[in-house]
Subunit: 442 residues, 2 copies
């Protein structure tokens, strides 16, 4: 006999969790579609050369790679590289701006830790083929609608623009050090401020400059900055505008305009200007964003992304820029678990039809069909059994109503309905009355 | 530069096809849930020993198998083996009868042919842990509701019970030959009747017996039988009942009862008794079924399955019987393509808001938000451009309405709406009127 077990770092999705996950996904899909985003899918397997094109060191080690016949293939480890391949391959079939979303599993053979799995879902959305600032705005509004639909508590959308740091470094005569500075600053929450100053010193940025950069980025200590809200957004951006000077402060002016429209739309309370958000080693070149659920900031960003210049560069001579992000579905599920707002319901069934007599199985199923056509999920107990056990079944699965009918009831087409939670029983209802009664609580 | 390409036998899902596929899936999910079925998921990767436990010859060759560290792992090639492993592993967490559905991709490295891919979706549904005939009935009613929801034309649910052939062979003194006879008969549509008679002869079944078996199975020629409908169902089952005799005709009596309830429920016109349906080498032990869309019978069965005795035998000492089946999603999509009933719509967007002036971007997005909160998917043109190009964009994406607004319109909060297909323009509508106008055609 073979021991039934899943691979280390993998897990089954049990029905209760799966129902919640599907619910989250369908809420987000509805939001994406309300903005005209369309779904795509790409194969789980790709040529390894496609996936490793970017040559990230960690990726190389984590990727599930193998030979199939003489083909070197691998499981996708994110949805971004497949998107780049997709857009390059179908460039002539697509019309731009192309707004797509893609929700699906990815695989990474990384060391497992609490709450991290080797198979997890990504939920990506991007607008491709436009540099319009309106597309940056649209992405941010869509994220706001996404969080409103998810309904997980207060949230903050932290926005920055990488070109601001770039302009600042140019102003300070450090434009060629952009990548290094970014890489070092990104480590501040891991290695602390002193070590960052030391490393910046090693690449030739003196203490005065370093202090200036950190102060402007609002990274004063090893604590994560929560950014600026409301009017402070504009005062800080205006300060930056002057600091950088007219020659190269266009990125600041753009961000001011973006926040002005957000204020005009009455959404400013959901947004934060946070110059400390840099998205580390990622390939972003314009706006960047990270989002937090306010009372679970320790869970980290649950939706991140930004604008990039050239998604398709590895695969095509047609450069495609875009803006997009990703909701962290598994992180959201973990957060819901932590907040104890996971639903206990084990089924969508609203009514269990008891089986008092096997002769009436046809009638029970017919009743169930009538309820289903009225949009009410209904189940029939397969075999006659003790009525106590049938009640227990309803309770165990959190089914709110049971319907009890035998010979007399079918003679009159009037049935008995019991509300499991209140214990209240209503006798002699016809089907229309039952439907109306259940709809009241749906 | 790396050539952007997918692996042989794989394909990307473009938005138009993906929207239809998601629509099919969500129709089926709603049906499954209306019967109290719950979703599960299992990892794409399993230990190879789990997947090859059944030791099917073809499977061995087709499976994507590789080493990861010192683990011998493989991609799932169906959703049945993972279900068996799942039920055995979580036996004590589940309550039976357990009704689950599972929709997801599986991988088989088989030789590619037209319309067959190495990655495809399965859509399985099963009731586990009960031998009740009511569960057989429920599966069949659910399939009927599934086809009604898919709305792909007239369909036929062909039902048989394998135990009838078994009883018949027992009656004819051939009970030990059951497996061989089944295997040979299953080939009749490939190798023809004469060859089948020859092979049956080789295992010791003489011509008289063979003729009798084939006649009862209603396999008179190499043509696929379409089975018996309406009253013929009952006359043929009654004939079989007498033929087999009271000692072992319980399976026939069960099937008569099943069809009687189906008739009582007014669904008999969707069902066929087809003794030629045997499901070949599969592991079924009770009812078996195959379903066809009437005007596309050549596409083969688009939903198949049956009852089995012991799903978990390889992994557990707790035998779990059940009944279930699978909708062939990719076959359904191919069939829709063939029937030319694939939708041309490229987006769910119902209205495109033109951009006449970049100063109003905030107002355009605000309008879009109002429409979205009324449930109307809306898009904004990012940048001011020629109005002719904005019309072309709407036409290209089959967006039914456009909204045109500039300075005067925003002053009065009254906008111009144009129906793209009719060309009709309505001037000076407020938001409520626009919503009402679009809802009329939604």
């Amino acid at each position: 006999m073979i021991t039934p077990r899943v691979l280390k770092g993998f897990r089954d999705s049990m029905p209760d969790l799966m129902m919640i996950k599907k619910d989250l996904i369908s809420r987000l899909e509805r939001v994406f579609e309300s903005f005209g985003f369309v779904p795509i899918d790409t194969p789980a397997l790709e040529y390894t050369e496609i996936l490793l094109g970017k040559g990230g060191g960690d990726t190389d080690k984590q990727i599930y790679r193998f030979m199939h016949g003489d083909r070197d293939i691998a499981l996708r480890y994110d949805l971004t590289v497949p998107l780049a391949r997709f857009v390059a391959e179908h460039y002539n079939e697509l019309s731009f701006p192309f707004k797509r979303y893609h929700i699906g599993p990815v695989w990474r053979g990384e060391n497992t830790q609490k709450g991290r799995y080797r198979e997890f879902y990504q939920c990506d959305f991007d607008i491709l083929g436009t540099e319009s600032q309106a597309s940056d705005l649209e992405i941010l509004i869509m994220i706001k609608n996404g969080f409103d639909a998810l309904n997980l508590g207060l949230y903050q959308i932290n926005v920055n623009n990488r070109r601001i740091l770039n302009a600042l470094l140019t102003k300070l005569g450090l434009s060629e050090r952009y990548g290094d500075v970014l890489r070092i600053i990104d480590k501040i929450y891991k290695i602390g401020k002193d070590k960052v100053l030391e490393e910046l010193g090693q690449i030739g940025v003196d203490q005065t400059l370093s202090d200036k950069i950190l102060s402007i980025l609002n990274i004063q200590s090893g604590e994560k900055s929560t950014g600026f809200k409301g009017d402070e957004i504009f005062s800080n951006l205006n300060r930056l505008k002057d600091e950088i000077g007219a020659e190269s402060n266009q990125p600041v002016l753009d961000l001011i305009r973006l926040f002005e429209i957000i204020r005009e739309m009455g959404m400013l309370d959901k947004f934060v200007f946070n110059p400390a958000i840099t998205r580390g080693l990622d390939y972003y070149t314009g706006i960047v964003f990270e989002c937090f659920i306010e009372d679970r900031r320790e869970f980290g960003s649950v939706c991140s992304g930004g604008r990039y210049d050239n998604l398709t560069g590895l695969y095509s001579k047609n450069p495609v820029s875009g803006v997009g992000g990703s909701f962290g579905l598994d992180r959201l599920l973990g957060l819901m678990e932590d907040k104890k707002i996971l639903d206990k319901v084990q089924t969508k069934t609203k009514i269990l039809i008891f089986n008092l007599d096997d002769r009436f199985v046809g009638s029970y199923f017919k009743l169930a069909e009538e309820l289903r056509s009225a949009g009410i999920p209904a189940e029939v107990v397969y075999d006659k059994g003790k009525i106590g056990n049938q009640f227990k079944l309803a309770e165990k699965k959190w089914i709110p109503f049971v319907l009890i009918a035998g010979e007399d009831e079918f003679k009159n087409s009037r049935y008995n309905l019991k509300d499991i939670q209140s214990g209240q029983e209503e006798k002699s209802l016809n089907t229309a009355e039952i439907i109306e009664r259940i709809r009241r609580v749906l």
